[in-house]
């Protein structure tokens, strides 16, 4: 029974990793941009949630309503004001600029909030759980987070394939110049994609902050988890990121059970193994 519990925990944390990954996969799909500051933006969202709950006295899970529009606005501004200038054939400018951004966000958070670890208090829901079988328990909060992850990814999927905005995203993704000839403003479309990506980041950041302690330095590790989930799942596939997140979460849970020092290592090794035997990922859709 112990192992069943471990695997369930791994699957549920995988939902969080899938949300880290969905934001990355979204902007890579639309504009072939890999945002190295992605993890630090997740941490930024966590700190904005912290400020919101401190000043408004909201429950953290309700704070999502405030954090999502703030992060979306930051995303739109960031893309319009900075990142659009870096796009082109050369991979160097976007990588270096988002890397610089990552260092800036980390150190700004350090300056504002110190290196102390923080946590969002969500009240009774944090410890609530129910039994689904002999010795098998599921926490309400991890389950809620998993359900939200599925809703977010399902929502992105619908948006991509059922709405005019999604059509615009797919068109720019396929061919930027033709999309532009059809009257789409790429700069605006890219900024909307980044806004959407950071809206997902906001949801993920709040759940991260409720589940674990956070400090300004944990961003890069979140970027890596999201990235691994994207590659395991396969580039360009939204549901793939969920599968990737779950595989990563379960690997980490199993690793941690064998030896606490192996939790992260087991996740990385699962990623490297997939890269070695199936480099296109489990459910590939587009060629990067």
């Amino acid at each position: 029974m112990e192992w069943v519990n471990i695997i369930i925990q791994g699957v549920l944390i995988g939902g969080l990793y899938a949300m880290f990954a969905a934001g990355l996969a979204l902007i890579f799909g639309v504009m072939r941009l890999v945002n190295i500051a992605h993890g630090d933006l997740i941490v930024l969202a966590a700190y904005i949630a912290l400020m919101t709950t401190d000043t408004l006295g909201l429950n953290p899970l309700l704070a999502i309503v405030v954090v999502v529009p703030i992060m979306a606005a930051i995303g739109y501004g960031l893309q319009r004001g900075l990142l659009n200038r870096t796009l082109g054939d050369d991979v160097l400018p976007p990588l270096l600029v988002t890397f610089g951004l990552s260092v800036i966000i980390q150190n700004a958070l350090l300056e504002l909030f110190t290196a102390d670890s923080r946590r969002l208090k969500a009240g009774a829901i944090e410890v609530a759980s129910f039994q689904i079988g002999e010795g098998v328990w599921i926490g309400v909060l991890p389950l809620l987070q998993f359900v939200v992850a599925i809703a977010v990814i399902g929502g992105l999927q619908l948006l991509f394939y059922r709405t005019p905005l999604g059509r615009a995203f797919r068109a720019t993704s396929d061919d930027q110049s033709v999309a532009q000839l059809m009257g789409l403003d790429n700069r605006h479309i890219f900024a909307l994609a980044m806004a959407l990506s950071l809206a997902v980041v906001a949801v993920a950041g709040v759940f991260l902050a409720v589940r674990t302690n956070f400090d300004p330095a944990i961003g890069p590790a979140r970027l890596i988890f999201g990235f691994e989930a994207v590659i395991i799942g396969g580039l360009g596939s939204m549901w793939g990121t969920l599968a990737g997140g779950i595989i990563l979460g379960v690997s980490q849970a199993i690793g941690a059970q064998i030896n606490p020092g192996w939790q992260l290592l087991a996740g990385h090794l699962a990623f490297l193994l997939i890269l070695a035997v199936r480099p296109e990922g489990l459910f590939p859709k587009v060629q990067g």
Partner: protein, 341 residues
Amino acid sequence: MSAGFHVEHASRSSRIGMAVFAIALLALAAAPAWGGRDDLRLLSEIYAYVALASLWNLLAGYAGLVSVGQQAYVGLGGYILFASTILFGMHPLVAVPVAGVIAAVVALPVAGLMFRLRGHYFAIGTWVVAEVFRLLSSQISALGGGSGISLPAGIVTSMASSRQMREFLIYWVALTLVVVVLAAIVLLLRSRYGLALTAIRDNELAARSNGIDVTRTKLVVYVLTAFGTAMVGALIFLQKLRISPDTAFSVNDWTAFVIFITVIGGIGRVEGPIIGTVVFFLLRQTLADLGSLYLLMLGAVAIAVMLFAPKGIWGLLVERFGWQLLPLERRLRLSADARTT
């Protein structure tokens, strides 16, 4: 019959540049005579950063392999030095090249995996590798596990008995290493591989269509860079006398600084990292008290340079004055007999 022409690498400004380098090298080699302990320590650190930035520049600026995980090889070099001296009783200065060779061997399978990731994703993939190395190193209990280990006194004194002599020795080795790294890069760029690399830098597709084996060229550069980076890493930690997973595989110290130095100085040019390191240390000596604000400013400056002057400080100077410090030009000269016939 001769081909009737030859390729000339040097120009007037590069001859001046080489003369300046030679004089500077003599002065720097004599630093133990004119500088104090702090000067030697600072200079050694500068050499380490010039070498690391030059190697990263070769990787990212020429081969287009933008790695944010070179701390993997800095840390690996440091750990190999500690392992081979503490566990196998090797002489520390012998351990430095050994660290380079082992790292080059390790880099082969790593490249095999990482080259499956394209462009942007390659960058984050290299970071994962560095994380794996860091986590593995904290599992080695013989080397102090997660909290790290100091180099035992017996090994330290085996280099030279007096502390002053040891410091001189490490200083000269650091200077030699940076000169060797720079010379190797210049020679590499002057060779056939260098021409291929410059072509890849300028346009990968065109390079490929001209018959350059792009993947193989990149692999050679990746492995050579790992070799050099690990030797520099070994020397850095020989000087620190202490190693731990977090210092050895620090992304800030061994990648963020190195990237900012290269971008600010001028990426894709050999002179860039040298200029960048000088600027970096000048800024650090004046602004170090600001702590995290200093890093923040450095990040902002690097972003501004990337957006508004993507060729960096040296690129601006080259465009303005046409300078060339190193003999890296290729100019065809007809020889005398070819001109008469």
